[in-house]
């Protein structure tokens, strides 16, 4: 049987004897006897390493991944340079705990400081935290930042946010007794700026996504102006991979930038672990939740990195802390930082440009099919777009027969398609043929 306990039976008995005990049971004498489990845990029998490997492979064959993928909607397949996972697997990093002991944790603390700098660079803002769980919880935390900074309980959010993000915000808002007001989208698929302006009275700010869930690039500058005009703040929820090509939150006046960092070098992994990033202006730095690394010196004057501004956090403020976050997604954050440093300024621009190019080609080809049309033809998009099609279910069923994952079917029957640098033009022709056939077959059935 597998055991990670190094001590042999003989050693254990000697250790027991040394502390004056006869058996392992003696160690648990504080536990009331009638509460104790009087049987072995009823779990599957232990497996050897080889058997475990077989078992996990058995689960994987129940999946059908690996075929062409045209789905994003919050999780994106991008190329992950080999160095990113390999460096993250340095066991000095991944088997470490939170860097509370700075002198023996400079590797992690400096990596974190570099991550914070990368996030500030991407977002054009002044300060970033060490990450939160994911994009959705980053949005929920941003809501609390808006509340704390403005001391108002009304928060506006754009209907263009990912529905999962909205759902998580609502759960947190119920607990915090916040008033959430949804700002609708116009018929062009972007946030109705006049509705932002009309609702700002008494609001702490607005949270809007760019690009939004439907792929549309938002008029963020106008949304920021409306928020500021109404004495509130803007928290921009951004896809970081777009920032090699699109304006940064800081460029259009956002006070907070948040988002899902998964596109930066993290695998799809069925939804996690990912990384929620958060950045803010200097004025809002102390409202950021969770850990932050800072630069200082030791007695000899060497540059040292250390966790700082800790008195904001739960282990010190306890019930007065604005967030309860302790463990975050540190290793994922470091991977995102490594990814950005591998790509550099030119790589970030090129990957963004490729996404734009591929998505536009795919959109063009799909819309050449009879019965397929772009829902927001006048609105610019990045790597996702919505099409309207007669029977989305039939399209995806036909694609699934070829192990292709088509666009995500929206509740209103539209399809949200995504193309990244991982999709080839050749794939597009192939996919379009299948879609065309599926729709023609259906046409015959009408």
């Amino acid at each position: 049987m597998r055991s990670y306990v190094p001590n042999t039976e003989k050693e254990r008995l000697e250790m027991l004897a040394e502390i004056g005990m006869k058996s392992m049971d003696d160690l648990f004498s504080d536990i009331p006897a009638d509460l104790k489990l009087d049987r072995e845990l009823d779990l599957p029998a232990p497996l050897s390493e080889a058997e475990l490997r077989d078992l996990l492979h058995a689960y994987t064959v129940m999946n059908e991944e690996g075929g062409p993928l045209f789905r994003g909607a919050g999780a994106y397949r991008h190329y992950i340079p080999s160095v990113v996972p390999q460096l993250a697997m340095r066991s000095e990093f991944y088997t470490a705990y939170t860097p509370y002991q700075a002198e023996m944790s400079q590797g992690m603390l400096q990596s974190l400081f570099e991550y914070q700098t990368v996030i500030c660079t991407l977002t054009g803002l002044d300060a970033a935290n060490a990450s939160v769980y994911d994009g959705a919880t980053a949005a929920a935390e941003a809501m609390l930042m808006l509340r704390d900074n403005k001391r108002r309980k009304k928060i506006l959010y754009s209907a263009g946010l990912n529905p999962d993000v909205i759902a998580v915000m609502k759960t947190y808002a119920h607990c915090a007794e916040l008033e959430l007001v949804e700002i609708p989208l116009t018929d062009k698929g972007v946030t109705d700026v006049s509705a932002v302006a009309a609702n700002m009275e008494g609001a702490a700010g607005v949270i809007a996504a760019n690009p939004n869930y439907y792929g549309c690039i938002e008029p963020m500058e106008e949304i920021a102006a409306a928020a500021h005009e109404g004495k509130g703040l803007l928290a921009a929820y951004v896809n970081p991979i777009t920032l090699g090509a699109l304006k940064r939150p800081g460029d259009y006046g956002a006070d907070i930038a948040i988002g899902e960092g998964q596109p930066l070098g993290l695998p799809l992994a069925y939804g996690g672990p990912y990384v929620g990033f958060m950045a803010a202006t200097k004025k809002l730095m102390r409202n950021l939740p969770g850990r932050i690394a800072g630069e200082t010196r030791d007695a000899e004057g060497n540059r040292v990195f250390v966790l700082t501004l800790q008195a904001r956090e739960q282990h010190i403020r306890r019930e007065m802390a604005s967030s309860n976050i302790c463990s975050n997604q540190m290793l994922c954050a470091i991977m995102a930082s490594m990814y950005c440093c591998v790509m550099g300024p030119n790589g970030m621009r090129e990957v963004a440009a490729q996404n734009i190019a591929k998505a536009h080609l795919l959109a063009k080809k799909l819309c050449e099919i009879d019965g397929v049309s772009l829902r927001y033809p006048e609105t610019p998009f990045f790597n996702e777009f919505v099409i309207d099609v007669k029977n989305a279910e039939a399209v995806n069923t036909a694609l699934a027969d070829y192990s292709i994952t088509g666009g995500l079917i929206l509740p209103d029957g539209g399809m949200l398609w995504c193309a990244t640098e991982m999709n080839s033009a050749e794939e597009f022709d192939y996919v379009c043929d299948i879609v065309r056939d599926a729709l023609e077959d259906m046409g015959g059935e009408d």
């Binding site: 102390r286 501004l309 800790q310 008195a311 904001r312 010190i316 403020r317 007065m320």
Partner: protein
């Protein structure tokens, strides 16, 4: 030395009344107990404060401490210098007020300097 131009609370805050306005701060004893003060979370002008309730948080590296108001009223002035230089509270806690409040009610159990010194000794 505890100045005798003002009154003191049992939570180691001082309050100096000038007409209808009360200037408030923390005592040197409190500042010393906190250690190196790294941040003062100041109230905002026009904030309503309530006697016995927290109106400010003072942070050291490894602790945060609420500062309680000796009066009920509205904040009319804050010491913005503390925002960039929280160490002033360590240097001279009595010279550096935190906030001034136009008050309607003031605690009736405040101590004078002599009583406060005795209180600190006994504590």
């Amino acid at each position: 030395m505890v100045p005798n131009d003002r009154k003191y609370t049992r939570d180691h805050e001082w309050v100096m009344v000038e007409g209808s306005v009360a200037k408030m701060g923390i005592t040197a004893h409190a500042a010393e107990a906190l250690g190196d003060i790294v941040y003062v979370e100041l109230p905002v002008v026009d904030d309503e404060v309530t006697m016995g309730e927290s109106y400010c948080v003072v942070e050291s590296v490894k602790a945060s401490s609420s500062v309680f108001s000796a009066v009920t009223g509205k904040v009319v002035e804050i010491n913005e210098e503390l925002d960039g230089a929280p160490e002033k509270l360590n240097e001279d806690a009595f010279e550096n007020f935190i906030a001034a409040v136009e008050f309607t009610e003031i605690a009736d159990d405040l101590m004078d300097a002599e009583e406060y010194e005795k209180f600190c000794e006994e504590e």
